[in-house]
Symmetry: C2
Subunit: 174 residues, 2 copies
């Protein structure tokens, strides 16, 4: 599950939509925002309708409270360029997941309060250069699921792509 | 090298900036746009000044002509959800790179003309679900460089992060 921290309306709408789509496409089951943005949710519901699956978008008033509660039943990974290089920690995280089951991945917008660094079980860097929370989430999940997420079938899809060397092949399913 | 196809001013500025930053952080040497957007270039030059390296941003009038010329000295990968799953083709691409040396990765905005599908040596899908060109580029380069890109040192950096389990540690270098 993914927590998007520090979403700002309008300015962040497209970036947050990309974050949602990445979470969905790379194997997360849902995403929690700290602001109620119905535009973003509507877009994702439309994607679900066409492309299938039950990826959910939710909102919480108090993200820190939410994280604390989550920790009673799982562990927390915060993606930040200041953290430990993903290459050095991904195997440990996979092992933890096998033991604990539930994982919450936090992706922040520009400013993230120090409490998030403190409360997270892992602060993980997808490299230590400035880039993009969208990219960080995608690479983290791709490493975590070992590329298998890119073969997942989404139930109840209306359309499905037939991979092809050239051009666009789409199959209607309903 | 990366080609960003179909950039639209203002609407795409943030997404294109993320695309540039990802290209830089994940090991590309430069990026070519089909529109001259000095705002994007300025942002990347500022990142270079602080974080080092010589990542360049350039513009071409006619991207198709540019691709044709590029093919005389290398090969072209186009990232598209309609292509062959990256899991099935990445080893072949690495092999091609060892033979041919130069690789151009094309990331499109929403609409990409069919000529791009035709002219590319590989149409590669980072999964077949809708998500984000930022994520697609990051995962492709991460797979291509096998995670080694996330350890790269950038020459002439003013600052450098010291990976840490909690908090933010930055070293000033100049």
């Amino acid at each position: 599950m993914v927590l998007r921290y520090g979403h700002r309306f309008v300015r962040d709408a497209r970036v947050s939509t990309h974050v949602c789509l990445v979470a969905r496409a790379f194997g997360a089951d849902g995403i929690v925002f700290d602001k109620r943005d119905e535009e973003v949710r509507k877009k994702i519901e439309e994607v679900n309708r066409n492309w299938g699956g039950r990826f959910w978008v939710d909102f919480v008033e108090d993200p820190l409270e939410y994280i604390k509660k989550f920790k009673e039943r799982g562990f927390v990974v915060h993606l930040t360029m200041y953290g430990i290089n993903v290459n050095d920690v991904i195997e440990k995280i996979k092992e933890d997941y096998r033991k604990k089951g539930n994982m919450l991945v936090i992706v922040g917008a520009e400013k993230v309060p120090w409490e998030i660094y403190e409360i997270s079980d892992y602060n993980v860097a997808i490299g230590h250069q400035p880039h993009s929370e969208i990219a960080a989430l995608a690479v983290f999940l791709d490493r975590f699921f070992e590329g298998k997420e890119l073969r997942r079938k989404f139930p109840d899809a209306r359309v499905e792509i037939i991979p092809s060397e050239r051009g666009k092949k789409v199959r209607r399913l309903q």
